[in-house]
Structure formats: structure tokens, C-alpha cells
């Protein structure tokens, strides 16, 4: 893509999210969301093949519907309460509409259906932007409208974790696996958002490097299915050894950093006296863990056969920059000992 176009699109993407972050007026927040949606559309369809176009269309329709509902809800709220400020509590009726709209925007169950198909149609870089950056803006809005309709939030959270678990079990395409992983993680974040927004932010902050690392690893190996990933031992042996750490961190296994948000969330839920919800969420994390483990098994714990020529790529130096991946992999695997510092930083 033309570098000027690319920079305009990326900068608009950044603008949109930052606008939503900075706004205290609902209309401005909505505008930020729309800008980021519009900015990412050309990025999604840059390759012009039908699958990408299909993904772009689905994304656009879904996000437009959600944004329209956000506009409607905030207008209704302005009608009822007479003010547009985000900081004031919402009336319950637009609150539930707004929650559903934001759920659709982020890809929470039971309105998650668009996410796997859209992610599958994109290339890995755009998918990365969709999975990480695009979650920030709706997430912040969600944080700011709390507390609202506790049972709805819990329902969204628990369903998301379960759907993320069960859905991912039947997949061999890596992008769909990551889509379900995103659904599950967002479910965890939503669960705790009604009690402690800092912990939800922690979950997001930890989730982003982990997903970034996974997407980068897949991009380095240029693999989009589990079978292709199995050949990575010959291309990037060091990365093949590190990937299970990242994947298991996504699964929330101690002593990796992914354990930190899950631990804190379970603790918070227990303190709020809903141990049953906490148990269900924890058990559904087992389902997700299984498919992460399956991917790492196929990649690292087995050496898949290949012809002689394919066993040589690791000897050649790569031109791609490995620094971002190195940083994010380190964060996503080794941050657990810094848990107290991280939590302290987030309570600002």
C-alpha cells in the first residue's frame, strides 16, 4: 500500500481511539469509534481478494450497527437525564442498550459471531490490529459506564468465557483460535469490570502483549493453520521453544504472566461473594487451556516430518525486526514476579 495512505490510515486509527479515550461527551466518544472503524476498513480490504472483502463487509455492518445503537442509546440518555456527560450515571434503559452495543463492538458472547469470520479473512497484521487496538476504545467506554445491570454483565462474561472455550476446541485455523481466545479473555475482563475496573484494565494490559506475541510468532512463521505451524521447528527453532510459554500464558498458567489477571479476578470475584461464577470461569479457562496446549504440542513437542530442503531455513538470517516480538514475549512470559508493581501502577 502507498506509504502515505498507510500512514493516514494508521494515524486515523490512533486518532479515533485516542479521541474516545479523551472524551467526556457521548457524541465525541461515538465519533472516535466511527473514525477508528472507518480507518481500519481500507486496511482490512487492502489485499482485495474476496475473502478479505467479505470480512471487511461483515466487520463494517456489525460495527455500524453497534455504533448506531450507541448513538441511539446516548441520545435517549440525553433525552431522559438531560445531559451528555459520560461521567454521570446512565439511566437504566439506555444503559442496557449501550452495554449490548459495546458488547457487539468488542465481540462478547452471545453476539460474538462476527469475530471468528472477520478475523479469519484478514492477514495477520490487520488481525493483530483488530484484536488489540480495536478493543481499547469500547473497553474504556465499558469501564466508564459501570456499574450497570449486574446480572447482564455477569451473563455476558460467563457466556463469553464458555463460548471462547468451547468454540476454540474445534478449530485448526490459528486466526479463529485467536478469535475465540479474544472472546474468552474479554469475558474475563467483563466479569470483573463491574467490581474493580483496575483489574479489568490489568487483564487487558496483559492480554495485549500476549496476543501481540502470538500474532507476531505466526507472522514470522507465516503460518495460519496448526499444521503449517508444525513446520516451524526448521524455520525458527528458538521461537518454537518460546511459543509454548506465550500460549500457556494465554491459557493463564502460573508462573507465567497470564496467570496474574486470572488470579486477581478470581480473588476479586470471591471477595464479592460469587464463588460459583468464579468456579465456572475458572473451569472454562481449562477448555481454553486445552486448545492452547494442543497448538504448542503440535508446534514444539513434536518434530513433524518434512523434506530435506525444508529443514534448512533456520540457517538463514531474517530481515524482519525481532525486537518488538522479543519485548512482548518477555512481558507476556515473565511479568508475574512484578505483579505488585503492576497492580500499583494501575491504581492511578
Amino acid at each position: 500500500m502507498n506509504p502515505f495512505i498507510l500512514s493516514i490510515l494508521l494515524l486515523s486509527l490512533g486518532l479515533g481511539t485516542t479521541l474516545t479515550f479523551a472524551s467526556s461527551h457521548w457524541l465525541l466518544a461515538w465519533m472516535g469509534l466511527e473514525i477508528s472503524t472507518l480507518a481500519i476498513i481500507p486496511l482490512m480490504s487492502q489485499h482485495h481478494h474476496p475473502r478479505a472483502v467479505e470480512a471487511t463487509t461483515k466487520y463494517f455492518i456489525t460495527q455500524a450497527a453497534a455504533a448506531a445503537l450507541i448513538l441511539f442509546a446516548s441520545t435517549t440518555n440525553a433525552w431522559i437525564t438531560g445531559q451528555w456527560d459520560i461521567n454521570f450515571d446512565l439511566h437504566f434503559f439506555p444503559a442496557s442498550m449501550l452495554t449490548m452495543a459495546l458488547a457487539l463492538k468488542m465481540g462478547l458472547a452471545p453476539v460474538h459471531f462476527w469475530l471468528p469470520e472477520v478475523l479469519q479473512g484478514l492477514d495477520l497484521t490487520t488481525g493483530l490490529i483488530l484484536s488489540t487496538w480495536q478493543k481499547l476504545a469500547p473497553f474504556i467506554l465499558m469501564c466508564q459506564i459501570m456499574p450497570v445491570n449486574s446480572s447482564l454483565i455477569t451473563f455476558l462474561g460467563v457466556t463469553s468465557t464458555l463460548v471462547g472455550g468451547w468454540g476454540g476446541l474445534n478449530q485448526t485455523q490459528l486466526r479463529k483460535i485467536l478469535a475465540y481466545s479474544s472472546i474468552a479473555h474479554l469475558g474475563w475482563m467483563i466479569l470483573v469490570m463491574q467490581f474493580n475496573q483496575q483489574l479489568a484494565l490489568l487483564a487487558l494490559i496483559i492480554y495485549i502483549p500476549m496476543t501481540f506475541s502470538t500474532f507476531m510468532i505466526f507472522k514470522t512463521n507465516s503460518s495460519t493453520t496448526v499444521n503449517t505451524l508444525a513446520a516451524s521447528w526448521a524455520k525458527t527453532p528458538a521461537l518454537t521453544a518460546i511459543t509454548p510459554m506465550i500460549l500457556l500464558s494465554l491459557g493463564g498458567l502460573p508462573p507465567l504472566s497470564g496467570f496474574m489477571p486470572k488470579w486477581m479476578i478470581l480473588q476479586e470475584l470471591t471477595k464479592q461473594d460469587i464463588p460459583l461464577t468464579a468456579s465456572i470461569a475458572a473451569l472454562s479457562a481449562l477448555l481454553s487451556l486445552y486448545f492452547y496446549l494442543r497448538v504448542s504440542y503440535a508446534m514444539t513437542l513434536t518434530i513433524s516430518p518434512n523434506n530435506l530442503n525444508a529443514t534448512t531455513p533456520w540457517r538463514l538470517q531474517t530481515t524482519a525486526s525481532t525486537l518488538p516480538l522479543a519485548i512482548s514475549a518477555t512481558i507476556s512470559a515473565m511479568l508475574l514476579p512484578l505483579a505488585p508493581a503492576t497492580l500499583a501502577l494501575l491504581s492511578l
Partner: protein
């Protein structure tokens, strides 16, 4: 220390040293000289016997008993265990007798096991057994007794399974261990009860402190221990099976010393039992049943060693009956006299077996009276002593027991069974003599019949002296603790003798039937009962393992594999999750209209619910 006590303790110490020295020599890696068994082991036992005569003579002259407590082994807040030895009437008389018998057996074994390449190990085992037995007999506390108890049990296992290449020998050894173990449960139960209630394992302390307690439970435990060790009915099958071991083993362990350990325990603990009617009645009835049952089984056996084994079992039942009559000293006397003639019977059978080239079936013997006169004479003497022929060794103890039984006010049924068993004793003893020594030979012509070896003759001679004069000697030199009833009707007095003679005559009559056909269709049921040993081994040895194996199979395959792992555990989770996973991913049909409709429906639902 009083000089008598000093003499007792130092003789015991010297005895242990003399007996342990040959064992310790074998732990160095020097090769043993050819006649180590004869020069070291047998000589050690002979010297130990001579040493043990010193405390015996001192006891006979002064009548002084002693208890020595030496080193304190364990000190806990509630229980102290010291090394303590009891030199009382029972141990001082039993130790010389045991050593005398063991000396003879070891000398015999130098001939019997001559061709065995591991003969030295055999003697080592026998010596270890002897040391354990002496520990058991001289123990003053239950802990030390238990050490000896377990020691004799283990050595019994090793010695029964001496020819371990033979599957039957291994099975027999295992049987011995398992049945003894069941008895050990009783002993440990008794020990635990005593430790927790009376707070001591010392014999003297236990007797004093349990005066007012209800001792039924520990006594039942001790009786169970005696049932296991002394092969009473219920735990008896191991004793005939133990005949798989070499004849010296049968002679030493399973006739004179080890099997009497259970009875000895009860004798030691008799002051605890004398006021407990339940325990006494139990002993009486159990002993009567044992003696009758095993005598019945002995009537139709064809293996000479098995007949003697059942005879041992029957005599053990008699000893148990005596304890049930509250006459522990008479039981002890019977132990002492029984050791002589039973060991001699076993040695005679060993001599016969080796002479006939390892033939043990009495139907294939005969006419040995002319061919091995000394052995058959000893066999006859031993059998006569066993049946209680007046003024031989067995008479003094056996007749005293039967008299005590007749003049007591206990269970008439036990009395009847014992008398019938006494007559059976005569019957099977005559059967042995008839088949082995009388008549014409039924064995192969080239049998290596040889009893000219002094290693055979001397032990038999010594034990024959013991079988003839042993009872008289013991009776002359002791004082009976309980005054026996000396006046009774003539029929009661002569009852034992009468039933034995009756049995003898019946047996003689039956013996002459071997060459005639008395009945065309004989009555086979009693014969089957006797030959199949009352069907007890067939039932117990099959039924219990079958139940255990079935239970094991149920647990392993049905409970663990099918239920826990498949239906409720991992496989159930897998079977439940798979449809859910497929459903979740199959819901993605790719139609955006469906997704948006679902969104609309959810929105409406949520709004409606939140509005209410």
C-alpha cells in the same frame, strides 16, 4: 546379685554366646571347613545343653526362681521396655529339654542332609531358630517374647521352603507364614490392649495390675495367637503342609519346639486366665475339637510324615484342653515329654525315608523290623510313649491330663472327644507300626537300608532314653502347683488306658483286614472326610482367594476403569464437551443477517428484562 541369680543369668548368657558363635563365624568370608556343621553347630548345641544343666540342677536343689532385668531398651512416658529374662520353673526345665532334643536332631541332620550342597546354611538356619526359641521361652516381657515369636515364624518359613525348587514346598511355607500371621494379629491385639490398659508388658506387672480388670479381650487375642502358632482347629492346615520341609526341620520345629510356642504363651499367661471362664471354656472346646479332628484325619493318611504331623496336632489339642482345665503345669509337662517321643518318631521316619530312597508312602514300606531293627524298635518305643503306655514318658503327662479331665466339672462333650481322640492315637500309631515294620517288604529290592551310622544311632538312642525315662525324671523332681485329685472311681482312673487298649485291639483287627475283603461295597464317606482333611484346606484355600480376586477384579475393572475413568471421570467430560464444542463452532454459519437478528433479539430481551 544373689549367687543363684548370678548363676542363672550367666549360664543363659553363656548359652547364647555359645549358640551365636557359630553363626557369627559364618559372617566372615572365610570358607567353612567340611565338617563345620558337625564340629561347630552340633558341638555348640551340645555344650549349650551341658551348660543349661547347671541352672537346672540348681533349680532342682533350691527351687529358686529369678527374674533378671538388664538393659533398658526404650523409655517412653507410659511404657518402658527392658531386656528381662525369667528363670522360672517353666523356662529352666524347658531349655535343657529343648537343647537335648535339638542336639540329637542336629546330629541326625549331619547324616540326613549330608548330600545337600547347602548343608551349612541349613544348620545356620536351625541355630538361628534355636536362638529365637530360647529368646521366646526366657522372655519376661511380651516385647521380647514377640521378638522370639516372630523369629521362629520366619525361620519356620525359611526351613519349610528349604527345597524351594518344589512348588509344593513354597506353598507350604507361605501357608505357614499366613496362618501364623493371623495368629499374630491376636498376639498384637493382646499386647496393645495390655499396653493401653495395664500400661506394662512385664509379666509380673501385668499379673498384679490386671486383678480387677475384665481380661476377656486380650485373652481372646492370646488364644488366637496360640491357635495360629500351635495349629489349633481353624488355623491348622499349615502343620501337615509343613512336612514339605526336611525331616530335621519337622522334628525340631513342628513337633517339639515351635508349635508349642503358642501353648507356652498360654501357660505363661495362665494367671490371667484362671478366673476368666470364657477363655477357659474356649480353650477347652477348641482343644477338644482340634484333637478329635486331627486324629480323625491321621487315620487315613498314607504319608508317614503326615501321620506324625497330625499326631503332633492332636497332642497340641490335648495341651490346649489341659489349659482349658486350668492346669497349665500339666500342659507344660506334656510339652516336655512330647518333645522326646515326637522328635524320635520324626527321626525314625527320617531314617526310614532315607533308607528306602526317599520313599514316604507307608503302603510301600514293610518288614523293616528285620531290616532296620534299631529304627523300628525306636519307632515302637516312641509310639508306645505317645499312646500313654504306663510308665513310659508320655504316660505321666497324658494320664495326669486325662485324670484331671475326668475328675473336673467341665464340659462332658470335650471329655468325650478327648477320650475318642486318645483311642484314635492308638489306632494310627498301630497303623504306622503295622505298615512300616511288620509284614513283608513292599519296596524295591535295591533299597539302601543302612542304619549303621553313629550319626543316626546315637540321636535315636538318646531320644529313646528320653522317651522312656523322661516323664519319670521330670515327675520325680518337680512339685505340682495344683494338688491333683487322687481318688476317683476305678473306671475313671483306667479310662485312658482302656480306650487306648480298645483302640489298639480295633486297629489290630482292622490291620488284619488288609488282606481280606470285608465288605463288597465299603462305606466311603467317612474315609473321604478323613482323607480330604475334613475338606477344610479345599474350602479355605480356594474360597477366600476367589473372593479376594473377584473383589479385586470388580474394583480394578468395574469401579476404577469403567465407572471412575469412563462414566464419571475423564471420558465423561470428553463425551460431554465434544457436542458442546461442535455446537458452538457449528453455529457460525456465515450469515450476517442471522447474527444481527440474534443481536436484535438479545437487545430486546435485555431491554425488556431490565425494564421490569
Amino acid at each position: 546379685m544373689h549367687p543363684t541369680t548370678l548363676m542363672y543369668t550367666s549360664s543363659l548368657l553363656l548359652m547364647f554366646a555359645v549358640l551365636l558363635y557359630p553363626l557369627l563365624v559364618t559372617f566372615t568370608s572365610l570358607p567353612l571347613n567340611n565338617d563345620w556343621a558337625s564340629s561347630h553347630a552340633k558341638t555348640a548345641v551340645k555344650s549349650a545343653f551341658l551348660i543349661s544343666l547347671a541352672p537346672l540342677s540348681l533349680f532342682l536343689s533350691t527351687g529358686m526362681e529369678a527374674v533378671t532385668s538388664s538393659w533398658t531398651w526404650m523409655v517412653t512416658t507410659t511404657l518402658d521396655i527392658t531386656l528381662s529374662f525369667k528363670f522360672d520353673h517353666y523356662s529352666i526345665i524347658f531349655i535343657p529339654i529343648a537343647l537335648y532334643v535339638t542336639w540329637s536332631i542336629l546330629e541326625f541332620a549331619t547324616w540326613y542332609m549330608h548330600s545337600d550342597p547347602l548343608m551349612n546354611r541349613f544348620f545356620k538356619y536351625l541355630l538361628t531358630f534355636l536362638v529365637a526359641m530360647l529368646i521366646l521361652v526366657s522372655a519376661n516381657n511380651l516385647f521380647q517374647l514377640f521378638i522370639g515369636w516372630e523369629g521362629v515364624g520366619i525361620m519356620s518359613f525359611l526351613l519349610i521352603g528349604w527345597w524351594h525348587g518344589r512348588a509344593d514346598a513354597n506353598t507350604a511355607a507361605l501357608q505357614a507364614v499366613l496362618y501364623n500371621r493371623v495368629g499374630d494379629i491376636g498376639l498384637i491385639l493382646g499386647m496393645a490392649w495390655l499396653a493401653t490398659n495395664v500400661n506394662s508388658w512385664d509379666i509380673q506387672q501385668m499379673f498384679i495390675l490386671s486383678k480387677d480388670l475384665d481380661m476377656t479381650l486380650p485373652l481372646l487375642g492370646l488364644i488366637l495367637a496360640a491357635t495360629g502358632k500351635s495349629a489349633q482347629f481353624g488355623l491348622h492346615p499349615w502343620l501337615p503342609a509343613a512336612m514339605e520341609g526336611p525331616t530335621p526341620v519337622s522334628a525340631l520345629l513342628h513337633s517339639s519346639t515351635m508349635v508349642v510356642a503358642g501353648i507356652f504363651l498360654l501357660i505363661r499367661m495362665s494367671p490371667l486366665m484362671e478366673n476368666n471362664q470364657t477363655a477357659l471354656t474356649l480353650c477347652l472346646c477348641l482343644g477338644a475339637l482340634t484333637t478329635m479332628f486331627t486324629a480323625t484325619c491321621a487315620l487315613t493318611q498314607n504319608d508317614i510324615k503326615k501321620i506324625v504331623a497330625f499326631s503332633t496336632s492332636s497332642q497340641l489339642g490335648l495341651m490346649m484342653v489341659t489349659i482349658g482345665l486350668n492346669q497349665p503345669q500339666l500342659a507344660f509337662l506334656h510339652i516336655c515329654t512330647h518333645a522326646f517321643f515326637k522328635a524320635m518318631l520324626f527321626l525314625c521316619s527320617g531314617s526310614v525315608i532315607h533308607s528306602l530312597n526317599d520313599e514316604q508312602d507307608i503302603r510301600k514300606m514293610g518288614g523293616l523290623h528285620h531290616l532296620a531293627p534299631f529304627t523300628s524298635s525306636c519307632l515302637t518305643v516312641g509310639s508306645l510313649a505317645l499312646t500313654g503306655t504306663p510308665f513310659l514318658a508320655g504316660f505321666f503327662s497324658k494320664d495326669a491330663i486325662i485324670e484331671a479331665l475326668n475328675t473336673s466339672h467341665v464340659n462332658a462333650w470335650a471329655l468325650t472327644l478327648t477320650l475318642i481322640a486318645t483311642s484314635f492315637t492308638a489306632i494310627y500309631s498301630l497303623r504306622v507300626i503295622f505298615f512300616v515294620t511288620m509284614g513283608t517288604p513292599r519296596f524295591l529290592p535295591l533299597s539302601p537300608i543302612n542304619e549303621n551310622n553313629p550319626a543316626v544311632i546315637n540321636p535315636l538312642k538318646r531320644l529313646a532314653w528320653g522317651s522312656i525315662f523322661g516323664g519319670l525324671l521330670v515327675m520325680l523332681n518337680i512339685n505340682l502347683f495344683k494338688t491333683p485329685v487322687l481318688t476317683m472311681p476305678a473306671e475313671l482312673k483306667l479310662a485312658a488306658l482302656a480306650v487306648s487298649v480298645l483302640g489298639l485291639l480295633t486297629a489290630l483287627e482292622l490291620a488284619t483286614l488288609t488282606s481280606k475283603q470285608f465288605k463288597v461295597t465299603p462305606l466311603r464317606t467317612p474315609h473321604h472326610f478323613s482323607t480330604s482333611l475334613g475338606f477344610v484346606p479345599a474350602i479355605i484355600h480356594r474360597q477366600i482367594p476367589q473372593l479376594s480376586l473377584l473383589l479385586g477384579q470388580k474394583i480394578a475393572s468395574q469401579m476404577v476403569d469403567q465407572t471412575w475413568l469412563e462414566k464419571t471421570g475423564p471420558k465423561a467430560i470428553a463425551n460431554a464437551t465434544t457436542p458442546l464444542a461442535s455446537a458452538t463452532s457449528n453455529m457460525q454459519q456465515g450469515l450476517i443477517k442471522t447474527y444481527l437478528t440474534l443481536f436484535l433479539m438479545t437487545l430486546v430481551l435485555v431491554t425488556l428484562i431490565s425494564a421490569t
